[in-house]
Each structure stands twice: as C-alpha cells, then as structure tokens.
C-alpha cells in the first residue's frame, strides 16, 4: 500500500430530499506517472490511483477512470442527487491493488 494516502471529502451534513448537492473529494497520492527519471537515471515506475467511484446508498453517482495526467493529490468536484437520508461511499483504487474508502452520512432536513 502506498504510504500516507489520506482521503478527504466535503459534503453537506443535511439536504432536503431530492436536493442536488455539491461533493468535493481529495486524496493525498503522488500519482507517479511512470514517465519521470530518478536521480539514478532509472525510470520511476508508474504508481497512480486509476479509478475513483462515488455512490450513495449503493447507487452510483460517478465513476472516473484516471490516467497519468491527473495531478498529484487527485481532486474531484461533482454534483449528486440525495433522494433520502443515507451514506455516501467514496472509493479510490490504487495501481498497487490498494483500495481506499471514505464514507459520509447526510441527514434530511
């Protein structure tokens, strides 16, 4: 597992049923492109987050395939419909097989 990988997410704590809310996610990850050379001249192997998904109560919001041109610490902002109270689930998939998750609850106001 890559070291120091930490997901962070911003979603509102409450919404009205059926509201569209803005979601922002960040994960600390170096996103090594596989195109850089180290001090010894050798190519540094590729190591990136290659997929990110966001779901709410088991239903998908967005599914992103990431390539090497996504910046260090991948950031996404998008909008989600909140049909009822429940939980957002965010999942990041690392080249090395690691899977990182974050969850956020939202209440209906």
């Amino acid at each position: 597992m890559a070291k120091g990988v930490k997901p962070r997410v911003k979603v509102p704590k409450t919404a009205a049923a059926g509201d569209t809310v803005t979601v922002k996610t960040l994960i600390s990850h170096k996103m090594e492109s596989g195109q850089r050379h180290g001090d010894d001249g050798a190519l540094i192997p590729r190591s990136i987050i290659n997929r990110f998904t966001a779901d709410f109560n088991g239903q998908n919001i967005i599914d992103v395939a990431l390539e090497t041109s996504i910046s260090t610490n991948p950031y996404f902002e998008f909008e989600a419909v909140v049909p009822e109270a429940g939980e957002f689930q965010f999942t990041w998939y690392d080249d090395d097989g690691s899977v990182y998750e974050a969850k956020k609850k939202i209440a209906i106001a």
């Binding site: 911003k10 922002k24 960040l26 950031y75 902002e77």
Partner: protein, 565 residues
C-alpha cells in the same frame, strides 16, 4: 469633465511663470517655490463620497526620485492608448506644458534636469499630509491601498514587512488588496493579515486545496458614506503564482476570476450597494478589459502596472483610475452617489512633491522609529553615479544594465538575466549610491543570484515566454511586468508577432557571434521563481560591483532592436 482642468492648473500656473518653452534653466527653477501645498491639494469638494487611492508604494517610506518610462508599448486594441503613451506624446495628449511640474511628475524627458529643479517625490509622511487634507474636507473619506506595500526596501526586508504595516496603520486605511505581500510567505501574510485593523480584500484569493474563497480575505466590504452604501471589492494580482514563487504561498490560488467578480458585483448590488468600487491589482489593461466584461462596476482603482494618469479612463459605465507607484501620487476621487447609482465624479491625481508638501510629524516619527535601527547600514555610501539610474520601461533601464553588469562580472557569466519588475526608484547624476539605494531596486525574499548553464534554445524560449507576457494582444494574458533585462546579449524583437516568432538575431556581445541554439552558455540571473535556487543575494553582488567601480558611468543601451512598436 472638470478633472482635467483641476489637475492641470498646477502645471499651467508654473509654466505660465516660466514661459511655455522654458527649457534650459531647470537648475534654477523658481517653480518649486511657486508651487504650494495648497495648490497641490486644491479640490472643490464634490458629491457625497470621497475615495483616496494609494498603490504600489513598494515600501518607499522616504522621498525618492522616480523617472517615468520612455518606452511603454501598447499592443492590440491598446496600441497608442494611455498608459502606452510616453514623454512628449503623453504631454501633448493631456495638454501638459513642457518643463512644468506635471511634465516632471507624469512623463519622461529631461528627467535629470527637472529632478534637480523640482526635487524628490513621495514619502509616506507627505502622503499622510495629503490624506489629512482630504479628510479635512471629507472626514469619512475612504482610504484604499492597492497593494505592493509590504515589499521593496531594506527595512521592509529586515522587518518582514512590519515597518510598512506600522506606518500604513498610522494612515488608517479602510481596505487593502495584495501582490508582493505574498512573497513574505503565506505564514507571515496570515500573521499580519490576522492583526490588520482594516479589511484585507480579494475576491480572487482562493484556497488552492478546495477551490473555495480564502477565509482570511473577504471579497468585499460595505461602507456607509454620505447616506449611501459603497461596496469595495478587492482584486488581488491574478498571476501571483506565475510571476512570483508559488511555492512560497502554495495554499492560495488566484486568477482573474471575472465570473466570480460579476457574481460579487451582483451580490453587493442585491444587498443594496449604491456604488461599486473595485480596488484592483490587475494592471491597467487588464482592468480596462475587466471593466468591459463585468457589468455594474462604477470605479476601478487600478494598480500593479505603475501607471499614473491625470484623469480616469472611461470604459462603458466604469471609470478606471491609475495612481502611479512608489509613493509618488495620491488619487482623490469624489463621487456623487444618489438613487442607487453614481451620478458623477471629480478626480485629481495629486503628485507628492516632497519639498512642497510638509511632512506629517506623527507619521514622520513612526517612519524614523522604523528606520532608526537600520540607518547606519542603509546610509553607507557604496559609490556614485554620473548618470540617471532608473528602471521603468519595457526594456533595460540603466539600473538594470548596472545589475546585469554586476552579474556578468561578479559571477563571471557570458549572459545575465534580470527580472523586468517595475519597482525601484531612480538616482540622478552626481548622487551617492547608498546601500539603501541598492536595496530599493533589488530587495526581495528570493534574491539569490544563480549561475547556471543554458542552451541557446532555452534562452530563446525564455525571451519568447516573457515577451508574450507583455506583448500578447489579449490583456488577460499580460502579467504586467516588463521584458526580462539582458546583459551580454543583443536581440531583435518584433512586438506584433505571436509567441515563438518575436525574438531573432540573438547575439552574444562578447564574441559578436550569433547565439547557437544547441550550444550551452553560462548565465547569471536572480529572482528565480524556482524553489531551492542558490547563490549570493543580488544586493551583495551589486554592492561588490559598485564598490569596484567607484563611480558608475551610465551609457545608452542599444542592444535591443524593437520592431513594430
């Protein structure tokens, strides 16, 4: 419009006495005696609101000389438009008499002779007197500082901006926006801003991580004045992480963000603003474009590009005011705000003639207290100059030539590069060059003078890149600096070509040979925006060079062949 007459009466009075073509006797100018503080401040109070604008002071606490540019090329729709007129063309446009105080203050030409007659300009204690005079007319005048305040001097560097913070606080500003302040590093900026007794504004200062408005810098502030609600929106320098080292303030993101500016204008209008003022560090051409893109702004107080204009430029329903730099000017803008809109204005650009305006004793005392611990070091005389040392202009000024010579000689390089910044006061022929003078044109938090190897191809790309930051016809691509200054090189530049095609005939002066794209050259420079740059500080390099020279001889620089201006 009354503003032109208001300003020019100063020039007219003096030139009438001298005769309109009174060249030749500048050294014995009686103009200085004839010019009074009351003349400079004279203003028929107008409307119900007064704005006072200062900007780009660059930590110049004391009176200085400041030569305006003789080369300031406009491109695209700004070709031939102010502020891209200089010298005699500028005077002709505004009806300014040759040799009068307005000539000296606002335009280039006969600078050294006029400087001897009219003396120094600026000084924050004189600015204080001007502000007090305006406040005597209108006690609740709104004082707005356009930024580039906490940068540019020996004391500012050594106190990390505290000297300027203390002196500016004594002037009691109402709001401020920012540029070079951020080169103190975000930790220091946060520390100062948290303690500021006035608003630190920037609608375009965002938290880089979450792309949200930075909490420390509100977008705007409301002022209730003369029965009206005035909204002042801040606009910090948009290209901070590009033009300056972004690694010093990685938490922040900037940009023009004109869509957000429109949203803020709409928001303050919806909240009852009768008048919308933007305190901007965009640069003049960028502000003109923004005024045409964003609707609902009444006044833009423009900073960054250091232009001084005797009357506002009107873009649609917006007036754009340019108030100069280095403490040389104060703008007063009176507004008649009624029925939810700006009905009229009266404006005056007040030149701060240091020998005419009495220093405010309280502020003078604050300045002296800030300077006292450093006086001995600052006053040390390093050498003399036999000509005018200045910087301002699109291409090399004589200060830049001196700095480039210092880099070539002290760092034994073939080529020198020096940043095209617009700050830095002038020295006139015969003046001593003190340590303070050197710091005034070099001090910054990333002053390391590097020495490196660059291929001809890289050099060319550097020149092309910087040229496009100045001469791109779209103002939103202009970062507001001048061309990178070069030593040991000559080249030709065709202003009107696109990036990649402007620069040609790159020649190494040492050998007279054309620069070979594939060959490597030793290059010395300073003010790299890259983290980890190493080398001696530029002010030490320049000081060592001047000490060896004793007296600096200024000669004309013909190494840049400009086409298409």
């Amino acid at each position: 419009m009354i503003s032109r007459r208001d300003f020019l009466q100063v020039g007219m009075a003096a030139s009438a006495m001298l005769g309109a073509s009174g060249f030749g006797n500048w050294a014995r100018l009686a103009a200085q005696q004839s010019l009074t503080q009351d003349d400079l401040f004279q203003f028929e109070t107008f409307g119900n609101v007064s704005l006072i604008h200062v900007t780009d002071i660059h930590a110049q606490l004391k009176p200085i000389y400041f030569r305006e540019p003789s080369v300031n090329i406009g491109v695209g729709s700004n070709k031939g438009a102010v502020p891209h007129l200089t010298g005699g063309n500028f005077r002709k446009l505004y009806g300014i008499a040759d040799g009068g105080p307005s000539h000296y203050a606002l335009s280039s030409g006969d600078f050294a002779a006029l400087a001897k007659g009219y003396g120094r300009v600026g000084g924050l204690d004189r600015i204080a007197t001007a502000i007090n005079a305006i406040r005597a007319d209108r006690p609740d005048a709104i004082l707005l500082d356009g930024g580039d305040t906490w940068h540019g001097s020996y004391t500012c560097y050594h106190t990390q901006g505290q000297d300027m913070v203390n002196v500016m606080n004594a002037l009691k500003p109402d709001a401020m926006t920012f540029h070079w302040e951020f080169t103190l590093g975000s930790e220091r900026v946060n520390e100062i801003v948290e303690g500021l007794p006035f608003a630190a504004l920037g609608q375009n200062i965002f938290d880089a991580e979450w792309d949200e408005p930075a909490e420390l810098f509100p977008p705007y502030k409301f002022f209730e004045r003369g029965g009206s609600k005035i909204a002042v929106i801040g606009q910090a320098f948009p290209y901070m992480p590009i033009a300056n080292p972004g690694w010093m303030f990685p938490e922040f993101s900037f940009g023009i963000r004109d869509e957000n500016m429109q949203a803020m204008v709409d928001e303050v209008r919806a909240a009852g603003a009768d008048c919308v003022v933007v305190l901007s560090h965009n640069g003049f051409d960028v502000d003109k474009k923004m005024a045409s893109v964003v609707s609902g702004i009444d006044v833009i107080l423009s900073g960054h590009t250091h232009d001084a204009l005797p009357e506002p430029v009107v873009v649609g329903q917006t007036i754009v005011v340019a108030s100069g730099s280095n403490g040389k000017f104060v703008s007063r803008v009176d507004l008649d705000v009624r029925d939810g809109r700006m009905m009229g204005y009266r404006h005056k650009l007040i030149p701060i003639f240091s020998d005419v305006i009495a220093p405010d004793p309280e502020v003078a005392a604050v300045i002296e207290a800030e300077r006292a611990p450093h006086e001995v070091a600052m006053r040390e005389v390093i050498g003399q100059t036999d000509g005018t040392l200045y910087r301002r202009g699109n291409f090399n000024g004589s200060w830049d030539d001196l700095i480039c010579d210092a880099l070539l000689s002290e760092r034994e390089a073939e080529i020198a590069l020096s940043p095209g910044v617009r700050w830095g006061p002038s020295l006139i022929p015969g003046q001593d060059i003190t340590r303070e003078d050197i710091w005034n044109v070099t001090s910054m938090t990333y002053g390391e003078a590097y020495r490196t190897e660059m291929t001809g191809e890289t050099l060319m790309a550097v020149l092309e890149d910087v040229a496009d930051n100045i001469f791109n016809p779209d103002p939103y691509y202009q970062q507001g600096g001048d061309m990178v200054r070069t030593g040991g090189l000559s080249y030709r530049i065709d202003i009107n070509q696109p990036q990649g095609a402007r620069i040609s005939d790159l020649t190494l002066l040492r050998t007279g040979e054309k620069v070979d794209p594939s060959k490597s050259y030793s290059v010395a420079g300073w003010a790299s925006v890259n983290e980890g740059t190493e080398g001696p500080q530029i002010w030490d390099v320049v000081e060592a060079h001047i000490r060896k020279l004793g007296t600096v001889s200024v000669s004309e620089n013909n190494n840049v062949d400009i086409v298409g201006a």
